[in-house]
Amino acid sequence: MDAVTFAWLVLAFPLAGSILISLSFKLLPRRAAGYIGTAAIAIAFGFAVAALIGLLSHPVEERSLNGALYDYAAVAGIDVELSILVDPLSVFMCLIVTGVSTLIHLYSLAYMTSDRGYNRFFAYLNFFVFSMLLLILAGNLVLLIVGWAFVGFASYALISFWYRRTTATAAGMKAFVINVVGDIGLVLAAFLILREIGVLDLTEIFEKAPEDLSVNSGVAVAIGLLLLVGAFAKSAQIPLHTWLADAMEGPTPVSALIHAATMVTAGVYLIARFWPIFELAPTAADIAAFTGLATLLFAGTVALVVTDLKRVIAYSTISQIGYMVVGVSIGAYTAGLFHLMTHAFFKALLFMAAGSVIAAMAAVQDLDKMGGFRKALRFTGPMLVIGALALAAFPGTSGFFSKDEILVFAEARGGMYMIFAIGGYIGALMTAVYSFRIVYRVLSGPPCKEAAELEQGHLAHGEPVNPKTGETEDTDVGFPGSEHWIAERARPMRVAMSILAFLALFAGLVQVPGVTHVIDSFLEPVFAESKLAEDYHPTVAAEWRGLAIGAVISILGILLARYLWVTNPALPARLAKRFRRIHDFCANAWYFDKLIDVLVVRPVQAFGDKIADSFVENKVIGTFAAIATGTVRGAGAAVRISQSGYLRAYAMVLLLGLIGLGIYFLIAGGGA
């Protein structure tokens, strides 16, 4: 079989899994949903590997395969085929998505055990994976938009998974609304592309773009910016990032899968996929790069001070995606995608470890209440450390190689782009500090109440309360189950975490400067014609210099974190008091939520309130509506009245109709 066939199968299994689970929930035992879901994704991963092998059997310059299943509709010059594009980029993404998803499904198998929405959870999760794969494999813009919107919906459904929590449903709605803003950007970009280039097929767009769009023309930049609106909304970049922190209301495996490893990298994928457009619109690319830089610095400062464990990791995700966006926007495509891959590994691992910690804390997520889990969590602890090491880009770990590759490329491109290198290193210092802030706050220090109990073998089981508001929870369906599962006591969780830990530590070795270049050479055909990727090649010496700087910064950051939270645990609080304003500013995420509230929400609401009670609404629009419905109603009544039931009346109408039609025919025919 061909790579394309395998790619179709990659798509088919998660969809089949989702449908099967949703239809069979009454027939099969509860646990079956988890196994079906996990197996579906694992099989999809197997086929992704098969697609990879199939693709590698093609010569390098022919590794872009189009597979059309059938024409859905060909109307008014728009040809919408149900087609997929199988090339190194899409296969690369498929491997990451299916691979990480398999592990997260495995983890959820145990972690979600006591949740009464177990089947629903796996049905959603499989649907999400299907949507994400559809987005990745889409061969034309229409299908891409479908996948894009499905992903947004899946994310909404999973954030609001515990629908008894008002905070969770609010977070779901927020995520959905912001995602729809991005959808609109993407749809408008598609319209512009159709108008300017005249096709929707991705390969054709990229072929024809250089002819139809002149470099940095207004239209090209507009297309680029609209694509960016879509990308920023999905990838949580300023100013559309506010939903991601709230999305942590969802179950932790969801945070790991959607809000760290896969969905949020869709924007990065989009920019990388549309590189021909962005190289034709350098202004848009620069805007993207600066936004990425701003995001990575901003999110770093926030991650330093917030105290909710999952939110710290969420902000670190926003920050890390900032790196990727910088990478794919300045031309370091493979480096950005390489970071996307390593990030998926270590961030999923971090979330899984965090999930285990939260379970040990009986659903408490506040870092201030944690501490001293070193002995209690013999397995989770080391996993947390490995994740943090990779995140902090400790020498030798995967994050070490991938992050620095982006920054070295920025340096090699020189000029204005030096800013990205410098900003990136500052961000790296913050990254190292906050990642070890998590480690030290959770593991070191005197054991907290839960940790002490766990050392005695008792897993804490607190009252079910909402971790955000502290309210007691409704314990019906749609609430996290009463039992908690930690990795120490669940083999599937341990297996998933061990594999990810291995990858987080060693996946970087596929791309050691001057030694290996697996990712580079695999993705090379996709970006073969890119000028940027061709013009700027950091030398091996420069890369090692960059790695050296990165290593120093990383170790420095970890030592600083140790000084702050181990050697001198009172200091952070004192600093927070001293620099109260800065602390509050960061802890409130730079008041972006407030800003959006003031700039968008309130004016819109005020406008709505005003218009709802105005002359225009009441009289003008109201009258129109009344006339429209009145006409239809009246006509309906007239028709019903004319329906007397008497045959003689019907015959009369027939006769009148015949006379009318006859006269028409005679007049029209006679005139002809």
């Binding site: 028709v639 039931g645 027939l654 015949l658 039609l661 025919f665 002809a672």
Partner: protein
């Protein structure tokens, strides 16, 4: 005088022959005492399946049969297949139908087969005589079937009304045919077409009056407004499976025959009749959609919605193009599936809820009877034309055909009509999913006496079986709905094959029929 024996193409006639054989077998089988109703139904289904197989076997043929009385081609075959689908669905829905008990299963199915025979003749006819014979053969069994539930007053009224009004329509049609024959001197479509061109008959009064009357007669059978008024009454009164059959099969076949008559016979006059049809389409869309609002009886509602749908389908004829004909046949096919998907749950609910076909009967079934609720929902969504269902593609093609044929304004009317139609279609959906199930009313006796008959006569009503209790949970009825709904979704996602068939059928209509 010499008599030339016509060459008979038995292969081409084989669908018709199969139906005749089925009819005989069913009638004979039904008088054998030990043959039950299931066997009769099974025989009927086998006959339909054979006919369908023979029709498919003849796919792609394009020739005249029986001295140019019939013509076998793709559009005719397509119409026959739709009719057979509907007929098979009707058989499945009728298994426990009270009307079938009162009429006797053998008679009931035999009438159905007779009607289908008329449809085969009509769909293939390229001659005024065979056209009329086909139409009558189709209609007369239906008159009887509408009144087959003799214990219900409404059914009798429906049958009688249909008979009288239908005869009126047939008479008008026959007058029209007579005038056309008088002017052109032939009953053959091909000769008529040639005469109209060569003898400059396009503005001949006789021809024009004839065409006007023929259009009225056919519009009548199609229940296009303003000749629609019988439809809601008859639909409501007839036994529900028969209503489904009329709504689907009759419409498909008569539309195709209409297209044949107009394009293959009267193509020369297309400039005149297409505008007249456009007006009929608009009136049908308006009256159908507006009339359906506020109906409580679902069958009546579907009757009105069928008028509006007929208006949409007529658009395919108005534009006089292969594209339009293809769009028409595609829409007819998906309309058939959607209707069966709606009617099957309706039949089931009618028997179990005690509300008859009132909207209350389907209220709340989303919770209690998901296997009925989903097909109905999908069918309704397809009639609306929601993306993901076959109805969406159907409407898309009709609108595209209208725009390509310079009838953009008509496309706009179709869209506005669709918007108005949400007013009553969504009401059904809200009843299914959002309303609580009402308590069953204190029903009158489930089996009313024969209208006007003495109770004693009723008790000894031919010793026929009574409807067995628990008849509501019929797997076959549910299955019919589920299969049609599944096909509707499948064709909404993967329409390519049906589009191809419809396109081939559309091309068939523009071929001259020859002499």
């Amino acid at each position: 005088m010499t008599f030339n024996q016509p060459t008979i193409d038995y292969a081409g006639l084989s669908p018709l022959i199969a139906l005749v054989a089925t009819l005989c077998v069913v009638i004979i089988a039904s008088i054998i005492p030990r043959v039950g109703r299931f066997s009769v139904a099974l025989l009927t289904l086998i006959g339909f399946a054979t006919t369908a197989g023979l029709t498919i076997w003849q796919w792609g043929a394009s020739e005249n049969l029986v001295s140019n009385a019939l013509r076998i081609d793709d559009i005719g075959s397509m119409a026959i297949l739709i009719a057979l689908l509907a007929a098979a669905g009707t058989v499945l829905l009728s298994l426990r139908e009270p009307a079938a008990y009162t009429a006797g299963h053998g008679a009931y199915y035999a009438l159905l087969i007779g009607s289908v025979m008329g449809m085969v003749v009509l769909a293939q006819s390229i001659n005024l005589i065979s056209f009329f014979v086909g139409l009558e053969l189709l209609s007369i069994p239906l008159y009887v079937l509408c009144g087959a539930a003799v214990r219900r007053k409404e059914s009798l009224e429906s049958g009688l009304k249909y008979l009288i009004v239908g005869s009126l329509g047939s008479a008008t049609l026959l007058y029209g045919f007579a005038l056309i024959y008088g002017a052109t001197g032939s009953t053959n479509f091909g000769v008529i077409a040639e005469e109209l061109t060569s003898a400059q008959l396009a503005s001949d009064t006789l021809v024009l009056a004839g065409v006007a009357m023929a259009v009225v007669g056919i519009a009548f059978k199609l229940s296009l407004a303003p000749f629609h008024q019988w439809a809601p009454d008859v639909y409501e009164g007839a036994p529900t499976p028969i209503t489904a059959f009329m709504a689907v099969a009759t419409k498909a076949v008569v539309f195709v025959a209409f297209a044949r008559l107009l394009e293959q016979g009267l193509g020369e006059l297309s400039g005149i009749w297409s505008d007249a049809l456009a007006v009929l389409a608009v009136i049908s869309i308006v009256i159908g959609n507006v009339g359906a609002i506020g109906q409580r009886s679902i069958k009546r509602l579907l009757g009105y919605s069928g008028i509006a749908q007929g208006g949409y389908i007529l658009v395919g004829l108005v534009v006089v193009s292969t594209e339009g004909a293809g769009a028409m046949i595609f829409y007819l096919a998906v309309y058939a599936l959607a209707n069966l998907a709606v009617f099957a749950p309706l039949v089931a609910r009618e028997r179990e809820s005690g509300f008859g076909d009132d909207v209350n009967g389907i209220a709340g079934i989303g919770r209690t009877r998901p296997w009925l609720a989903w097909p109905m929902t999908i069918g309704v969504l397809s009639m609306i034309g929601l993306p993901g269902t076959a109805g969406f593609i159907g409407k898309l093609f009709l609108i595209q055909a209208a725009v390509d044929g310079d009838y953009t304004w008509l496309a706009v009317v179709v869209v506005i009509g669709t918007v108005v139609s949400l007013g009553y279609y969504l009401r059904l959906l809200s009843a299914i999913w959002m309303e609580p199930q009402p308590d069953a009313p204190n029903t009158q006796s489930p089996m009313p006496v024969i209208a006007g008959g003495a109770p004693e006569a009723d008790a000894s009503a031919g010793g026929r079986e009574e409807v067995p209790p628990g008849s509501s949970r019929c797997v076959l009825v549910v299955g019919t709905g589920v299969i049609c709904a599944a096909a509707t979704v499948l064709l909404g996602i993967y329409p390519e094959q049906l589009i191809q068939w419809a396109t081939e059928a559309g091309e068939a209509i523009t071929r001259a029929v020859g002499l």
